[in-house]
Symmetry: C2
Subunit: 358 residues, 2 copies
């Protein structure tokens, strides 16, 4: 059974979305999305309003492997929007077969997070998008200038940037990131069984899922996994919601899954309190994003639930409780938009980079 | 300017296509497509009829990186249908950063070729699809059984194979290849300026392009680049149309672009006559598929034209002639179908392979 339910295309839904976003910012501040329902629209920064053309441009860039030094790795390579928004690998392969250090987080609903990356080092989707392109083990481009020169040299991009961003030098690294972020803000997964349940369709959740929901509340999981994205309470953009992992050190899982080698947010802040501290990840679509945790060390969701019970709450969860929680987490799998494939602007008559040998 | 023109989706056009294919096989044998117009339908083998569900399944498989041992390389990685149907690289990167030996040919209109691969070693799209999945420098899967076990373990695939192929063991390596081939048969690019010109729209070609067309005929290029796909005369499936390259040895280009190191079809047949012999590649969309030749050694189309003039016809083409021919070749860029993205069936609650460390 294909879990992705086809409802409507981004194209069809887009106009309504832009309207709703406009209204939302009149009547509702970012922090008032409510506690549990998935918002229909993401927060949109004032300096990067969403337009249809910008989203389409961003989609092309998101899928364009020419943004990597080898021409083989696109944003979508590790954040596959035809699937879970991840690459479902422990850690990703970038250019030249190089491996990254952390598991790729999903891009679906990332627009609802107040900070990006596992360690929260980017305040916005715009900031996030600038990282992997230049990271030597990800897309490996040598400099912002190299990226800008490449994109500006592709006629179809040059004209689209001119139309979307105006001005004398519309192709900038900032604008590349803005377009990608605008596309990513369309990647929400509404209408999960849980959301339908919350709207009053009591049959949308099985008894087991309801038992799982009660368990995560009574155990205290929702102390962190709260809010509409189950990733923490609503925060201002750039203000992250973090937690230590493990809270209770010394469990059998800590060694088995090598949970503490990567020091997480400490690498960003160098504050000792931030050792092994991480942005609280979302539960939305978590059933589809195995393997789990920052190092992708745990292959199954039931084991991930057991690990979290022990390391964060010092609880040895029994099998029935684990099963119920897994059932509940599956009810957070939303509806994935049917999308048109982008068509990447060509460079007729020449190799884009005119470099051989890479 | 985006050269890809959006006309209609595969979904919209599909029913009509199936109907046309059915009619075509009543009234028209495979070899009677005519000399120059791009056929509206491809030849379809009797043992792999096209159905909507099979094409949709094949599209999912074509885009599914889980068909590689690392979960990172799909058919689309090297045959990017959001672009030219190639990766626009000299040679491709497969799993673990390994590099292939030959430049990836385009998948667009490959359904019109009578043999596949640069050396013609596969008689059909079905045969071709089976190769890269198991090739250690491409997708690197260890065995047909490993591929079949993997696909059968994904619930959404298991049910689709059952519905599409019926029988007790619908997930077989043959059926995986059949589904992929069925999808690839939808990848035609009709309605190029040249096709419109041939249908009577005399303004569809510029004067320069017409001069280029006359040049390729008078010079003798169309001795090989003939037929509707400009890849040779109509042949029975499995019967290839080949040519030596270079025909005239010893040119400056031969050394500069290392044209003879790879012995081409000789590696398949071990016949000395087949040394440096290659399947004649199509001119359709050739303006978009740089870099050129089996080793991707030539970065621009004008240089490729010069090389071919010298090596195949012993002609030093002047700049004006080269320019005209390039203009004509650009008129063979067709219309690329707008496609919906596939949605890849997930493996809820678990990592697909449950392998770490790769």
């Amino acid at each position: 059974m294909n879990r992705f339910k086809n409802t409507k295309s981004i194209q069809q839904g887009f106009s309504r979305m832009v309207l709703v976003i406009s209204l939302a910012f009149v009547v509702m501040p970012i922090t008032a999305f409510g506690l549990e329902a998935l918002p229909k629209v993401p927060p949109v920064p004032k300096d990067n309003p969403m337009t249809r053309d910008k989203v389409e441009l961003g989609k092309q860039l998101f899928f364009d492997p020419r943004l990597s030094v080898t021409g083989t790795v696109s944003c979508n390579s590790c954040h596959n929007v035809m699937a879970s928004g991840t690459d479902n690998r422990p850690t990703s392969f970038g250019v030249f077969g190089k491996k990254g250090g952390r598991s790729a987080p999903t891009v679906w609903n990332a627009a609802l997070l107040s900070v990006q990356f596992w360690d929260g080092r980017a305040a916005s989707l715009e900031d996030q998008a600038k990282g992997p392109i230049l990271n030597p083990v990800e897309m490996g481009m040598p400099s912002e200038k190299a990226v800008v020169d490449l994109i500006a040299s592709i006629p179809g991009y040059a004209s689209q940037f001119k139309s979307v961003f105006q001005g004398k030098n519309p192709v900038t690294y900032d604008n590349i990131a803005k377009a990608i972020a605008a596309y990513e803000r369309t990647l929400l997964t509404p209408d999960s069984p849980f959301d339908r349940y919350k709207r009053g369709q009591k049959k949308a959740l099985s008894k087991k899922a309801v038992a799982g929901m009660q368990a995560v509340e009574s155990l205290g999981c929702t102390g962190c996994h709260t809010g509409p994205n189950f990733a923490g309470p609503a925060m201002a953009v750039g203000e992250g919601f973090y937690q230590k992992f493990p809270v209770f050190p010394g469990s059998v899982y800590e060694k088995k899954y090598n949970l503490t080698q990567d020091q997480g947010r400490y690498d960003v802040t160098k504050k000792s309190d931030d050792k092994n501290v991480w942005r609280v990840p979302s539960w939305r679509n978590v059933a589809l994003t195995a393997p789990y945790f920052h190092n992708g060390s745990v292959a199954t969701l039931d084991e991930a639930v057991r690990v979290m019970g022990k390391t964060q709450l010092n609880q040895d969860l029994d099998n029935q409780t684990v099963e119920n929680i897994v059932e509940f987490l599956n009810s957070l799998t939303g509806t994935f938009l049917v999308q048109k494939m982008p068509q990447l602007p060509p460079t007729p008559n020449r190799h884009t980079t005119e470099k051989d040998g890479l």
